[in-house]
């Protein structure tokens, strides 16, 4: 397939940045130049940060050495440090960031609310309660804790969906039910901590901060499988989600099976967020801020699913790098850094929305 024709779509009309790419076989693709550029730059930022992260630590390596080692030409010692110790941690960061970013974009679009992200609507809290139940009541190992987190996230997803259902799930009710669920689950978390003995409580609090420390291939594989299946599925539903932005009636009229699409997308997003939380703990604010930052960079309407995914990955790795480098010897868990960054972002969002007269 080679492009035989490339032109601006709509002579006087369609935003100048949208181009149509057409091929000989009658295939045509809509390409937003600016959005594509943003995606490429974010991918480069994430990859660059990944290389720097792999190279830093007690045994430091130059980016060149890291890349050589990644392609299988390093020394035995470098191979060990990269593939066994640092690569899995960075991969967990990338995948968790991507899952949180796209999960946030899906929920913000479905709830039609920039604050309607999974960590506000209770899915993160549900995963936390699941994990803490395993830690506090069953003293389970790492795998059991991860399983508990996934189960907690999914159960919360089902409960919120069912409670918000009334002839379909609508944005406003989803937000209200989700915020209610989040409040109840936070109370349950606190109750579990008061019930725990000192060792379990410490373990629970460490888990709840969210961190990439000590993550290995055991965390990478489930994430890779879930992202490998669900990200393409979510992206394939992107055009339908774009139409659903205009309201359910308009989407029905255009031939979207609204409720089914919403169910598939919400289910995928809940699973992505739950698995991400199981791997790294509840990392704050990535799913809230990544889609909004992506949208402001691409300056295009629509859910910006792909851009939000790469933004999430880049954001999480940069936060991880900051947590390792910016505070000297005192390393912070990445969840603390994303929390601080997210708080600043939220303030900025509130101020700018206020200036625009929207709140």
């Amino acid at each position: 397939m080679k492009a035989t024709q490339e032109e601006t779509a709509g002579t006087k009309g369609t935003a100048r940045s949208v181009r149509a790419v057409r091929t000989a076989g009658g295939y045509s693709f809509r390409m937003n130049v600016r959005a594509s550029l943003v995606i490429v730059l974010l991918a480069a930022l994430a990859a660059g940060t990944a290389v720097v992260l792999i190279g830093s630590g007690d045994f430091s390596m130059t980016p060149g050495e890291v890349v050589t080692t990644l392609f299988g030409h390093g020394t035995f010692q470098q191979e060990f440090i990269v593939t066994d110790l640092r690569l899995p941690r960075v991969l967990v960061g990338l995948l968790v960031g991507a899952a949180l970013g796209v999960g946030g974009a899906v929920f913000q679009t479905i709830s039609r609310n920039p604050l309607g992200s999974p960590d506000v609507l209770g899915f993160g809290q549900g995963a936390t309660v699941g994990a803490l139940t395993v830690i506090v009541l069953f003293q389970g190992g790492a795998a059991a804790v991860a399983g508990g987190a996934v189960a907690g996230g999914l159960l919360t997803g089902v409960a919120v969906y069912v409670l918000a259902w009334k002839r379909g799930v609508h944005g406003f009710r989803l937000v209200l039910v989700g915020i209610g669920a989040a409040a109840m689950l936070t109370a349950a978390t606190q109750y579990l901590i008061t019930k725990a003995n000192l060792v379990d409580a410490t373990r629970a609090v460490v888990w709840m901060t969210g961190s990439l420390d000590g993550r290995d291939w055991a965390q990478v594989w489930p994430l890779l499988v879930v992202c490998g299946v669900l990200l393409p599925l979510v992206f394939a539903h992107g055009p339908a989600l774009r139409v659903m932005e205009m309201g359910d009636d308009a989407a029905y009229a255009l031939g979207v099976r609204v409720e089914r699409t919403r169910l598939v997308l919400m289910g995928s997003a809940v699973l992505l967020v739950a698995v991400a939380t199981a791997a790294a703990g509840p990392i704050a604010f990535v799913s809230l801020s990544a889609p909004q930052l992506a949208r402001r960079l691409t300056r295009s309407t629509g859910p910006n699913l792909v851009a939000a995914t790469f933004m999430g990955a880049a954001l999480l790795l940069v936060a991880d790098w900051v947590s390792m480098e910016a505070f000297g010897d005192r390393q912070l868990p990445v969840g603390v850094v994303t929390g601080v960054l997210g708080g600043c972002y939220l303030l900025w969002l509130l101020v700018s929305e206020r200036r625009a007269g929207r709140i």
């Binding site: 369609t14 045509s28 055009p239 009229a253």
Partner: protein
């Protein structure tokens, strides 16, 4: 057999029944207007015809097949709907919004064909918004915005187009503007239009086929000139009136009866000047 029909449908929400055993045929190539007092079930009927509401009993047929069992995108290539309220995404341009009407004709490998482009341009030209392509929808007036939504529905290229109260919330000049546009589309493009309207005089002037409803039942249907009489208006709306020929078009014009002088103050204490 007309393309769009409802066969003895029972319509309602949850347990509340709005209309029972209702049958209707939309004449092909007509500009059909449904009128009736508030809560008579006219919007509910339109929602059923556009497959947004599934009948509890009976069925809606599109080209002889039950509309709810047809693939959603296939229906959307035959039957369009302009909903009462749609949300314009933040910061979207007119051309981008109209382009979204092409959704049912697109797929993952066919996202933006030369045909899509041509039809979007034509739709914008025929609704008189050809020059507004790069403007943001947020900054348009109510009348212009309604034209944009109509253009989006036109870009869907459906032989049947349903409009749910397309003139609500518009000033009088924009109401006439939108209705003139609909009449023009009906005449020049041969599309079948079905609209729910509040204003009986607008309905009588623009419709080629009128359906008058009350309490979930169809009281009368036919050409406005034949069915709109003072008796019908009183039966459907409970309003005493005269019906005269519209001086502009000759179609029926409903003039509500004037309040009888003194009728309302009967029994009221007259305001006396001074004490």
């Amino acid at each position: 057999m007309q393309r769009l029909t409802a066969e003895s449908v029972t319509l309602g929400y949850d347990q509340r029944v709005i209309a029972e055993n209702l049958s209707v045929e939309i004449p092909d190539h007509s500009f059909t207007v449904i009128v009736g007092p508030n809560a008579c079930g006219k919007s509910t009927l339109l929602r059923a015809l556009s497959r947004m509401l599934k009948p509890a009993r009976g069925r809606v047929l599109l080209d002889g097949e039950t509309i709810h069992s047809l693939p959603a995108k296939k229906v959307a290539r035959t039957l369009g709907l302009l909903p009462q309220s749609s949300i314009a995404p933040e910061g979207i341009t007119v051309a981008d919004l109209v382009a979204r009407g092409r959704y049912p004709h697109q797929g993952l490998l066919r996202q933006w064909s030369p045909e899509d482009e041509r039809i979007v341009e034509e739709s914008m030209a025929s609704t008189g918004i050809g020059a507004l392509g790069d403007r943001y929808v947020d900054e348009l007036s109510g009348g212009q915005r309604q034209r944009v939504w109509i253009a989006m529905a036109l870009a869907q290229q459906t032989p049947l187009l349903l409009l749910d109260e397309p003139t609500t919330y518009l000033d009088i000049q924009h109401q006439i503007d939108v209705l003139d546009l609909c009449a023009e589309l009906h005449e020049t493009q041969g599309r079948t239009l079905v609209a729910v309207l509040h204003d009986l005089n607008h309905a009588a002037r623009y419709a080629t086929h009128l359906i008058a409803m009350r309490e979930g039942e169809i009281i009368a249907e036919g050409a406005p000139g034949e069915i709109v009489t003072a008796e019908l208006v009183e039966r459907v709306f409970g309003l005493r009136c005269q019906v005269i020929p519209d001086p502009e078009t000759g179609t029926p014009l409903v003039i509500p009866a004037a309040r009888k002088r003194g009728a309302r103050v009967a029994g009221a204490v007259p305001v006396a000047g001074g004490a």
